[in-house]
């Protein structure tokens, strides 16, 4: 079983990101579970969402304390204590940032991958909502699900012009991100072999 934690702010589509990821797992006949942990319900408030992906039904409902991967939807959240807590050794961290991965990693003192998700979203979707871009980047990096599964999940959630733009965004991101960078990490993280 794989566990992923997504940190964001209210309004950045944090919960939708988690739902899309779990739904994408379902598209390839795997089990997915996703749920939020709200702070206060307003724009800008820090929110966290959790995702589990497995090949058996997922029964536990506790919060993800030891994620294999982290997706950080807002670079400023890196300063919030606890955001990186529990990450499994060798775990991958994807950050929404205009800085390069090298710069991000240097600042944080650990390996981080940066993706200008908001900027790309602003360009292609018309709004700086980073979640789709981050998910595409995440899947490309980790290889835990085929990117096409995300596309199919998007098709169930959006339609018309919005869907089209999201699909285009996915394609743009996957062409830019080094595919399979975290593939070895995945094997390490896949603790239970479930």
């Amino acid at each position: 079983m794989l566990e992923i934690r997504i940190h964001g702010r209210g309004g950045q589509g944090n919960v939708v990101a988690a739902y899309l990821l779990a739904a994408a797992a379902f598209e390839v006949q795997r089990y997915g579970q996703a749920f939020p942990n709200f702070g206060a319900e307003r724009r800008g408030a820090p929110v966290v969402a959790f995702v589990r992906i497995a090949d058996q039904p997922i029964r536990r409902r506790n919060q993800v304390l030891t994620p294999a991967f982290l997706i950080i939807q807002d670079q400023a959240l890196l300063h919030v204590p606890g955001v990186l807590d529990g990450l499994l050794p060798g775990g991958g961290v994807l950050v929404n940032s205009n800085l390069s991965s090298a710069e991000l990693s240097a600042n944080a003192g650990r390996a981080l991958v940066g993706l200008p998700a908001s900027a790309l979203a602003k360009e292609i979707l018309g709004k700086p909502v980073p979640n789709t871009a981050l998910l595409a980047g995440f899947l490309a990096l980790s290889g835990i699900l085929p990117v096409d599964a995300l596309n199919r999940a998007l098709t169930h959630r959006f339609k018309g012009d919005v869907l089209e733009r999201n699909l285009r965004l996915v394609e743009t991101v996957t062409s830019r991100v080094p595919a399979g960078l975290w593939a070895t990490t995945q094997e390490v993280a896949d603790v239970t072999g479930a």
Partner: protein, 390 residues
């Protein structure tokens, strides 16, 4: 059909499949997605009903009551403060033996204010005279909704389908949504003998003098006790149709040789199951899932506890100044057994506090001091308490 859905979305579809003709709705976290999803189904023409956006939960329950009395299947949902605000109506509905179904998206009750999951709300109205069924996951929430209408209309008792707020309502997982044909086969059109009809006028809801009151209460109590059989029968019928049981009145699972059991209601079951599988404790442990809290399945519980030496009741609410609520009822049910198991009673996860996988080891540690079985909130952080409260 299997779908990846948010719990609330799945419940909204389940409700639509039951074909209520009036749905009343007042928003409260974490029920809002249920009523929003229903509104969307109505707006998109996928579900035909009178959707009444009322001005408070008191009216939400009242509109559903008026509709049920005027001849149609009705539905509403609420949580927390809303359940308490409509409490008067809940007693009224049950006392008039009206077959309504509602969802309670279990949430803590102010004060302190909390929007997160525990079961204080539904526990607060346990005496209202409703059937209360607790769901361990979103599949059960869907299946139990269908079953609830059949149980309600057969027993003339309203049914509250309890599902943990956020933990279930806002969790997306794979759920099998039955198709309309299956549900129509299972659930016939609305049946209620005492509807209001100008062709055959009746008066309902009148004042009852002491000469008649006790008999009405006796019959109500008896009806709830008798409903146990119906709850089992309906679950069996659903299982025959879909291959899925929601657990009847209660279930017990685990190694046959185990003499220690943990009893829970609701979604914490999944975490306990995963914990026992992944980190098997030194001593074998059974899990008892209580699905029906009202009627309280005392006989079934006694049977399930046969051979146990210890039972740990883990609940998501408490009665301040007394202790556990479920624990007390379990204790009472077991009191007539010769050599009943020792009972340990804890509250956990109040106000939405996360219940981690290692909760099991903390529970089992209590067995080491059987002389002290006082109720306590097991996940209290001592360091955050004032010294005098420790």
């Amino acid at each position: 059909m299997l779908q990846a859905l948010e719990g609330s979305q799945a419940v909204a579809r389940a409700v639509a499949l039951c074909r209520p003709q009036v749905v009343s709705a007042y928003p409260i976290t974490p029920q809002t997605h249920i009523v929003e999803n229903i509104a969307k189904l109505v707006a998109d023409g996928q579900f035909k009903c009178e959707f009444v956006s009322v001005e408070s939960e008191f009216s939400a329950a009242s509109v559903a009551l008026g509709a049920a009395m005027a001849g149609v299947r009705a539905y509403t949902a609420s949580a927390s403060q809303g359940i308490l605000l409509m409490a008067e109506v809940l007693y009224n509905i049950a006392g008039m033996r009206v077959p309504l179904v509602m969802t309670c998206a279990n949430r803590a009750v102010s004060a302190p204010l909390s929007i997160w999951n525990d079961q204080q709300d539904s526990m607060a109205v346990r005496d209202a005279g409703w059937i209360q069924l607790y769901c361990a996951d979103n599949q059960e929430a869907v299946d139990t909704t269908m079953q609830a209408y059949l149980i309600a209309e057969r027993t003339e008792l309203p049914v509250m389908v309890c599902m943990d707020g956020f933990t279930l309502t806002h969790t997306l997982e794979v759920i099998d949504i039955p198709d309309q044909a299956q549900v129509d086969e299972f659930l016939p059109p609305y049946q209620f003998a005492r509807t209001l009809d100008p062709r055959n006028p009746i008066s309902i809801g009148t004042l009852i003098s002491p000469d008649y009151y006790s008999e009405a209460r006796h019959s109500h109590h008896q009806a709830l006790l008798n409903a146990q059989a119906e709850i089992i029968a309906v679950d069996n019928a659903w299982a025959a149709l879909t291959g899925r049981s929601s657990g009847g009145l209660l279930t017990i699972e685990g190694p046959a040789e185990a003499t220690v059991a943990i009893l829970v209601l609701g979604s914490v079951l999944g975490t306990l199951q995963a914990s026992l599988d992944e980190y098997p404790p030194a001593i074998p442990v059974k899990l008892i899932k209580l699905r029906a809290f009202r009627p309280f399945p005392a006989a079934a519980l006694r049977a399930a506890c046969a051979g146990l030496t210890d039972i740990i009741v883990l609940e998501r609410a408490l009665s301040p100044g007394s202790g556990g609520i479920v624990g007390l009822e379990v204790l009472a049910a077991l009191s007539s057994v010769s050599a009943p198991p020792r009972l340990y009673n804890f509250a956990v996860g109040l106000g939405g506090r996360d219940i981690p996988l290692d909760i099991v080891s903390r529970l089992l540690a209590a067995l080491e001091t059987p002389e002290d079985r006082t109720f306590r909130i097991i996940d209290v952080d001592i360091t955050r308490l004032p010294v005098e409260d420790r």
